[in-house]
């Protein structure tokens, strides 16, 4: 079966110097929620932007393969890509304020998306906006249509972004940290909304986050990124049950769990920082922080299998670990 979105060996460089993404590969199936997790600066946003072909100036993408529903995204012209964007693939950005235009009302921005891609009258587009805003849980949508983005709270703005992303019934929604700036109650509301939409509309979601709590609760599959590479890929339950890559293990041990916190003990953490990775870098990018690193880690690392759809990038053989004590 071919996946909805398939990315193979994606490389993104800025100005030729440093590679922000170094050969990331993952696939998003129809109707699944796929999470991309990893340390700040590991290239999650850049990956998302290069799928949308929205990289900042100086950004160069190349890949062995990047296809969406059978269409090769790399060979699309700018015009063709623009027709796809906001239509069959939509994106929600990390910061809603920067992606809504402060000078136009919410209603006119939403209607514009629909009329641009699908044509039709403005009245019909506004009607659809009201319907979608109701659907994403915005109360009194008619009133909100006439408001400007700065008059909405963070939670509302994020909902408007989601409603706008859904205007054209996309098949894939790319959501870049949609809830990082929000508190837990609003976060729960937004994530429930996304889960409902996925169920009812068969929407596939590529969700970028660094919160493993979110990953555990909403993802079907997870790709863990480190320094521009996907270092581990697995179904969610499997990843949490038996993480293989030392980075994934470290990441899981850092999560403080409420009710299970020991106040006087330090939290688990991964010592050190992400190294600077130059053009000639070879071997495992995690080795300066890995407790199990040895000389072989300086050479090419094989991708190992740990079960049908679970693989990881490390020299160590797969281990069957005990279920985590509850």
């Amino acid at each position: 079966m071919s996946a909805l979105l398939e990315v193979e060996d994606l490389v993104v460089t800025f100005g030729g110097r440093s590679a922000a993404v170094r050969g990331a590969s993952f696939r998003v199936e129809k109707g699944e929620t796929h999470c991309l997790v990893g340390e700040s600066g590991c290239g999650k946003s850049v990956t998302a932007l290069s799928i949308m072909n929205l990289l900042a100036r100086g950004g160069q993408r190349s890949a062995k393969r990047m296809s969406f529903a059978g269409t090769d995204l790399l060979s699309l012209s700018d015009r063709e890509m623009a027709r796809l964007r906001g239509n069959r693939i939509s994106m929600i950005f990390q910061e809603p304020m920067t992606s809504l235009n402060p000078a136009f009302t919410v209603g006119s921005q939403m209607a514009e998306v629909l009329t641009r891609h699908k044509g039709g009258t403005r009245a019909a587009a506004l009607e659809r906006s009201v319907e979608l805003m109701g659907r994403v849980g915005i109360t009194a949508p008619e009133m909100r249509l006439g408001q400007f983005p700065h008059q909405l709270s963070g939670g509302l703005r994020q909902r408007v972004m989601i409603a706008m992303a859904l205007m054209c019934d996309p098949q894939l929604l790319v959501a870049d940290e949609p809830t990082t700036a929000l508190d837990v109650t609003v976060q729960a509301q937004i994530l429930r909304l996304l889960a409902t939409l996925k169920r009812e509309l068969g929407l596939a979601i590529l969700l970028i986050t660094h919160d493993l709590g979110i990953v555990a609760r909403v993802a079907d599959r997870v790709s863990v990124m480190y320094a521009g590479e996907v270092v581990e890929r697995a179904p969610t339950a499997e990843l949490f049950r038996s993480p293989q890559h030392p980075y994934t293990r470290g990441l899981l041990s850092c999560v403080p769990v409420p009710g299970r916190v020991q106040r006087d003990r330090p939290l688990g953490s991964i010592p050190g920082v992400v190294p600077a990775i130059g053009p000639g870098f070879a071997g495992c990018a995690f080795r300066s922080r890995c407790s199990q690193a040895d000389a072989t880690c300086e050479h090419e690392i094989p991708r190992r299998q740990a079960g049908g759809t679970h693989d990881y990038l490390c020299r160590l053989a797969p281990q069957v670990s005990e279920p985590q004590p509850a």
Binding site: R192, G213, R217, T236, P266, L267
Partner: protein, 316 residues
């Protein structure tokens, strides 16, 4: 013993114009807040986005003048102290490590600012102390020579902490110091703050919307909703037996990394609270699952809650 921080009946309003031709609105960001933080302890503050946590922090730091009420830091009003004495007493760590360091200054100069502003330290002494604190927060001397843009988020936050601690203040106000950071960096920063508190005997006011983080660092927790503290108690008691329906909702909405559990329905509805239009009676009543008739007309007053806390709810 005097409290490190004492806040009495604090209130802060902003006037905002509601857009073209609309009437001016009053946003009540902090509404009659009272609490004390004993020296050497950590008070955690949690609450919804926009409930007034940062405003409270800025009032305590003296960056905003309250509309009413008093803030006493170490028994004194900050407005009575000169800027240098104030800096020796209380220091902030802000939420966004990308906004809290001046992009045009070197890290070393940013960290040295509290010392240079005092005007009493020799250049050699400043250099010695900056080197010492940079090492303490885990930044190499080479990092001190860099500009903020050349540091990662976690490294910047360390620099911000170094700046807050270089003068060895007694009180540090941390406004969501880790919410912009991923878990591994967050753990590093929290461990650092805990170590420093133990070694230097600091008092923290620790604002966060991550409950697990608050549980880890705080000895006492206050829950804010629409500008008011609706519940306050010792950390263990509050997490074990939350009294206020909003606190309960907060605890339920925490997403623990347990696959397959789904996102819980916390039953708060989808309405967002509006600080310029606070509902009559209990301010939580439009979203409260267990609200009764009285809640819509009578505002609950604080009631004691064992062992040391209080809660504002008719039914708690």
């Amino acid at each position: 013993m005097t409290s490190a921080i004492e806040v009495r009946n604090l209130r802060c309003e902003f006037r905002v114009n509601g857009g073209w031709f609309a009437a001016e609105k009053r946003v009540i960001a902090v509404d009659d807040v009272t609490f004390r933080v004993p020296a050497g302890s950590v008070l955690g503050i949690v609450g919804e986005s926009g409930c007034g946590k940062s405003t409270l922090a800025r009032l305590i730091l003296g960056l905003l003048k309250p509309t009413a009420g008093t803030v006493l830091v170490d028994g004194k009003r900050l407005f009575d102290l000169d800027r240098k004495a104030r800096a020796r007493l209380i220091q902030p760590v802000f939420q966004d490590p990308f906004a809290s360091l001046n992009p045009r200054h070197r890290i070393k100069d940013i960290v040295a600012l509290p010392l240079t502003a005092q005007g009493t330290f020799s250049r050699a002494e400043i250099e010695r102390r900056v080197a010492q604190i940079l090492e303490r927060v885990g930044l190499s001397a080479a990092m001190g020579e860099r500009m903020p843009a050349q540091l990662s988020g976690g490294q910047r936050q360390r620099a911000a902490i170094a700046r807050a601690l270089v003068l060895e203040p007694r009180i540090v106000i941390c406004d969501e110091p880790t919410s912009a950071l991923d878990v591994s960096v967050q753990a590093q920063i929290l461990n650092l703050l805990a170590d420093l508190r133990r070694d230097l005997g600091l008092t923290y006011l620790f604002i966060s919307h991550n409950l697990a983080v608050v549980e880890h660092v705080a000895s006492e927790v206050a829950v804010m909703y629409l500008g008011r503290i609706v519940e306050r108690n010792e950390t263990d008691a509050l997490f074990r037996a939350p009294g206020h329906p909003y606190t309960q909702a907060l605890l339920q909405s925490v997403l623990t990394p347990e696959p397959g559990r789904g996102v819980p329905d916390i039953g708060l509805g989808d309405a967002m609270p509006d600080p310029s239009n606070i509902p009559p009676g209990c301010r939580f009543n439009p979203r409260c699952r267990i609200a009764v008739e009285r809640c819509r007309t009578v505002a609950p007053s604080p009631m004691a809650r064992p062992p040391q806390g209080m809660v504002e709810c008719h039914l708690a």
